[in-house]
């Protein structure tokens, strides 16, 4: 789009000996695939290159068995045998004239070395960050020389694999050169400890030696932390963080600037807006002549332009926005802003890495499925028949299903029982901190309205009889679920008896505006975000709120989405009382009876109302009615009826979107016992190597 105000984003940028074709830079990000699923990783990176990102990087790449952070699945260059897997990614990225970057990393005392059983290395002896009963040993001079040699060897292997940008990684508290930089971690008294210059010595050596090894043809970016967010005790952007960049100003070929740890860098939308790091990052460009990239969940092209024009960044860094929409750059270039699938900041992508599984995305159901299911975020096969499909329910599953079927060319009717589209992605965004989640609905409505072959019917509750009379070939039920009132989830597997039902609420009640009164107990046996959000909402309304959970912490699963500590802090700051390790075992006469999750010892607390955030019940009555009709359904011309999303089994929004998408791609396929995706099975080692 020449003459557009976004043209500046498509200017080339020189990075050392290589040139990026535009300013879109996919920073290194984990994906749960790594060395375990190299083709999956390569195909995922490939689609980003295809979508227009000038630089596409891998996840962190362990350079040595002593950098082993398994079971996290990251890239590896332990020896030459790891080269082909990474070469596949580099080759795939090069297909579209993008630059391939690899983030070499040695994890110091953050590596528990669970597989390799190496002793973790660190500037000083420290316990590892997890609760593994493991400590690092302080590196001696020989260890430092070894590390430098490993890094240079990994750099040469990375060059051999075809990479154009070969990182030195000193950020997120995660790697050895960063641990040397930090006063908290580095208690050395030799020339690698003490002054900032000494603490930066290892980083300087690694940059110089990486440039010596590969700098003739490869750029050497440095991912650096300019502020550890611990005040003067650590690097900070108006202190040592700045001094460090000034000291090394033009040594690397590019500065990839980060703030804090991973959970801050990938700040969830509940706790940070777009461009959240600007105040910490903006000084860097003033003290270096090298290009600067940083992140901030940039999804708005206007914000991106502003960052570049105001001299904050040279390149727009992104991990999550490139996951939600690998085609973000091309869509901006083509002026297709309404087609951008904006990241919602839910961090379900990070949760995949933290649960050691291939990456997934709420907005982009094809993420992580590029190789193993051959799914593409922008392309979907044309229809195979003239079948007319009725989708019942316009929540995340139904919307995605209707959009994807519509894009395939099927004639679709989307029937929604209420007078608004969106289901849970209409209701939940109104809860505190979740507004960005409305983007799941917004994107799909934008697409639906452009599809002439999809009719939307509001106010259309469909009974089984009405479905039979509606003259469709296929019926998909996406009717959602409701929160249970009876306490059933993990702590109670059967309904809790003797509850004062009049004063029992669920998240559905709260979202519908039915608000409890008086001291309220929120019983959270769901452990994802809802319990914490409901407690926050009620507290904001002035209620005296006690969150009771059988778990040791609030919203425990959100540790995987990098949200948990911030959620707990926010609830405590707002004055929510948190009662952990306790189950709700009774509620009557304005008293909630609790039992210790370990001893069963009972206590009571005063409570006017109880909100059950436990589990959900699928809305499956229409499905069951159709199932009970037997041949009548076929006689009505219906070839199949299916359930998707929460109406099949309540889960995440990401799972609902995936479910709707999967139906749209696969409903014509015959039932099969085959594994529904490709796998990479490890090559067997030589049997002769045993004793």
């Amino acid at each position: 789009m020449n003459g557009s105000r976004y043209d500046i984003l498509f200017e080339p940028v020189q990075i050392g000996p290589v040139t990026a074709k535009n300013r879109f830079y996919q920073v290194p990000h984990c994906n749960g695939m790594g060395h375990r699923a190299p083709s999956g990783m390569a195909a995922m990176r490939r689609v980003k290159a295809e979508g227009g990102w000038a630089v596409v990087c891998t996840e962190v790449c362990e350079i040595h068995p002593s950098a082993d952070i398994s079971p996290h699945n990251e890239a590896r260059l332990w020896d030459d045998r790891d080269i082909p897997a990474l070469a596949r990614a580099a080759d795939a990225i090069h297909e579209f004239d993008s630059l391939a970057g690899v983030e070499l990393g040695h994890h110091g005392f953050r590596a528990q070395n669970r597989i390799s059983r190496e002793i973790p290395l660190g500037p000083s002896s420290h316990t590892v960050v997890s609760y593994d009963p493991v400590q690092s040993r302080a590196m001696d001079k020989e260890d430092i020389r070894n590390l430098r040699r490993w890094h240079a060897a990994a750099a040469r292997r990375a060059k051999q694999a075809g990479f154009d940008l070969i990182y030195v990684y000193a950020a997120h508290g995660l790697t050895t050169p960063m641990q040397f930089l930090s006063r908290r971690y580095n208690q050395r008294t030799d020339e690698y400890g003490g002054s900032l210059e000494n603490r930066a010595r290892l980083l300087r050596e690694l940059i110089e030696e990486t440039k010596d090894a590969v700098g003739d043809t490869c750029a050497v970016p440095v991912r650096i932390c300019v502020d550890e967010l611990v005040g003067p005790a650590g690097l900070c952007s108006d202190g040592e963080g700045r001094d460090l960049i000034e000291m090394l100003a033009d040594l690397p070929d590019l500065w990839d600037v980060t703030v804090g740890d991973w959970s801050n860098d990938s700040r969830p939308s509940r706790f940070g807006e777009e461009a959240v790091h600007e105040d910490y990052v903006s000084f860097v460009k003033q003290v270096t002549s090298k290009p600067v990239v940083s992140v901030g969940r940039f999804t708005s092209p206007d914000t991106m332009v502003s960052q570049v024009r105001r001299g904050v960044l040279d390149m727009v860094g992104a991990a999550r926005p490139s996951i939600a929409d690998p085609y973000l750059p091309n869509k901006i270039k083509e002026g297709r802003l309404d087609d951008i699938r904006e990241c919602i900041g839910c961090n379900i992508c990070a949760a995949a890495d933290n649960t050691y599984t291939p990456i997934r995305c709420t907005q982009n159901p094809t993420m992580g499925e590029e190789w193993r299911r051959n799914w593409h975020p922008e392309l979907i096969p044309a229809r195979e028949s003239q079948d007319r499909v009725l989708v019942v329910g316009a929540g995340p599953a139904g919307l995605e299903c209707a959009v994807s079927l519509g894009k395939r060319g099927y004639e679709v009717a989307l029937a929604e029982a209420t007078t608004e589209l969106g289901g849970r992605v209409l209701r939940e965004p109104l809860l505190p901190g979740l507004s960005a989640w409305g983007r799941v609905r917004d994107y799909r409505l934008g697409q639906l309205h452009q599809l002439a072959n999809v009719e939307i019917y509001m106010d259309s509750h469909m009974s089984a009889d009405e479905i039979l009379g509606a003259e469709f070939d296929r019926v998909v039920l996406a009717t959602g679920s409701s929160w249970r009132r009876d306490g059933v989830a993990r702590y109670h597997r059967t309904p809790l008896a003797g509850l004062d039902e009049k004063a029992i609420y669920t998240p559905d009640d709260i979202m519908a505006g039915r608000i409890p009164t008086g001291p309220t107990v929120v019983f959270d046996d769901d452990h994802y975000y809802m319990g914490g959000v409901i407690a926050e909402k009620l507290r904001d309304l002035g209620l005296d709120v006690t969150l009771v959970t059988p778990a040791p912490v609030v919203s425990g699963w959100t540790a995987n989405t990098l949200e948990q500590p911030r959620i707990q802090k926010r609830l405590l700051d707002k004055g929510v009382t948190i009662v952990a390790n306790q189950g709700l075992v009774g509620f009557s006469d304005q008293a909630a009876k609790l039992a210790c999750a370990f001893t069963g010892r009972e206590t009571t607390i005063e409570a006017n109302s109880v909100v059950m955030v436990t589990s959900r019940t699928s809305h499956d009555s229409v499905y069951n009615a159709l199932a009970a009709m037997g041949d009548q359904v076929r006689d009505a011309g219906i070839k199949s009826f299916s359930r998707i999303g929460d109406s099949l089994a309540p889960g995440t929004i990401a799972a609902a979107v995936f479910s709707g998408h999967r139906y749209a791609r696969e409903f014509e396929k015959p039932e099969s016992d085959e594994v529904p995706f490709l796998r990479e099975v490890s090559e067997l080692g030589p049997w002769s190597a045993r004793n």
């Binding site: 003459g3 557009s4 029937a415 309205h449 002439a452 106010d459 003259e471």
Partner: protein, 248 residues
């Protein structure tokens, strides 16, 4: 009393229209179409009058291609009793529509014709007024309130200075403004039921109306694309730039 409600099939209000490359019009191929939103308000108003016991029958009328049947089904699903499709694939201008409606009014003798004040595709805002003139009947345009009292109808109109209420002797013509009501949805079960309601098919020739266009479209073009701006360091530079551009 009968009420006639003309409804037009137009490009859906959510769709971003694309102009044909030869500049002769808007590209309608594979574009989502739906009932003109002002006509939905007209249908809703008629249904409310019927529900209030002020009317007995609602007849939806559309002039357009065979696909306009879907638009009529929507009106029937909302609550109209029967429908008349005057089928033509030609482009029909407001005057031709008004003449066809005049002929239908002569057959049906409705107490009211309620039309949308304009269609969102061509924004003509003419059909209701032309129909009133052709019939020699009173017109209440841009209605934000419609109250029937015996043989007359009070129409509150949104005008620049505020609200103006006019009283019309029936039979009369009313055109609807945006705030008259919030129309109900045509639900899928009601669309299915509407398939059983009568829908007559006619042609303009049945009414002896010549629909040949009186207007000629010279050119249709997209709005200009916003250009990249420039940044100036201070107020002096801004003033200098504005002078250079001839705006100050």
């Amino acid at each position: 009393m009968k009420i006639i409600v003309p409804v037009k099939r137009v490009i859906d209000y959510n769709v971003k229209p694309r102009v044909k490359s030869d500049g002769t019009g808007v590209d309608l191929a594979n574009v989502k179409m739906s009932m003109n939103p002002f006509d939905e308000i007209a249908v809703e108003e008629a249904i409310r009058l019927k529900e209030a016991g002020k009317a007995e029958e609602i007849i939806a009328v559309s002039v357009g291609p065979a696909k306009a049947q879907e638009t009529l089904r929507t009106a029937l699903a909302m609550g109209a009793d029967r429908a008349i499709l005057v089928e033509t694939d030609a482009e029909v201008e407001p005057l031709a529509v008004a003449k066809i409606l005049k002929a239908i009014v002569a057959e049906e003798n409705p107490g009211l014709v309620i039309l949308g004040k304009q269609a969102i595709d061509d924004d003509s805002n003419q059909t209701g007024q032309m129909l009133a003139a052709l019939l020699g009947r009173p017109q209440g345009t841009f209605a934000s309130k419609v109250e029937i009292d015996g043989d007359s109808v009070a129409v509150t109109r949104e005008v620049d200075g505020g609200l103006e209420t006019v009283r019309l002797a029936m039979p009369a013509i009313v055109t609807t403004d945006l705030r008259l009501n919030e129309p109900r949805y045509a639900s899928l079960p009601n669309i299915m039921k509407a398939k059983k309601k009568p829908l007559d098919s006619k042609t303009p020739a049945d009414f002896g109306v010549d629909i040949a266009p009186r207007l000629k479209t010279l050119k249709v073009s997209e709005p200009p694309v916003r250009q990249a701006g420039i940044k100036v360091p201070d107020v002096d530079a801004l003033v200098a730039k504005l002078k250079e551009m001839g705006v100050a």
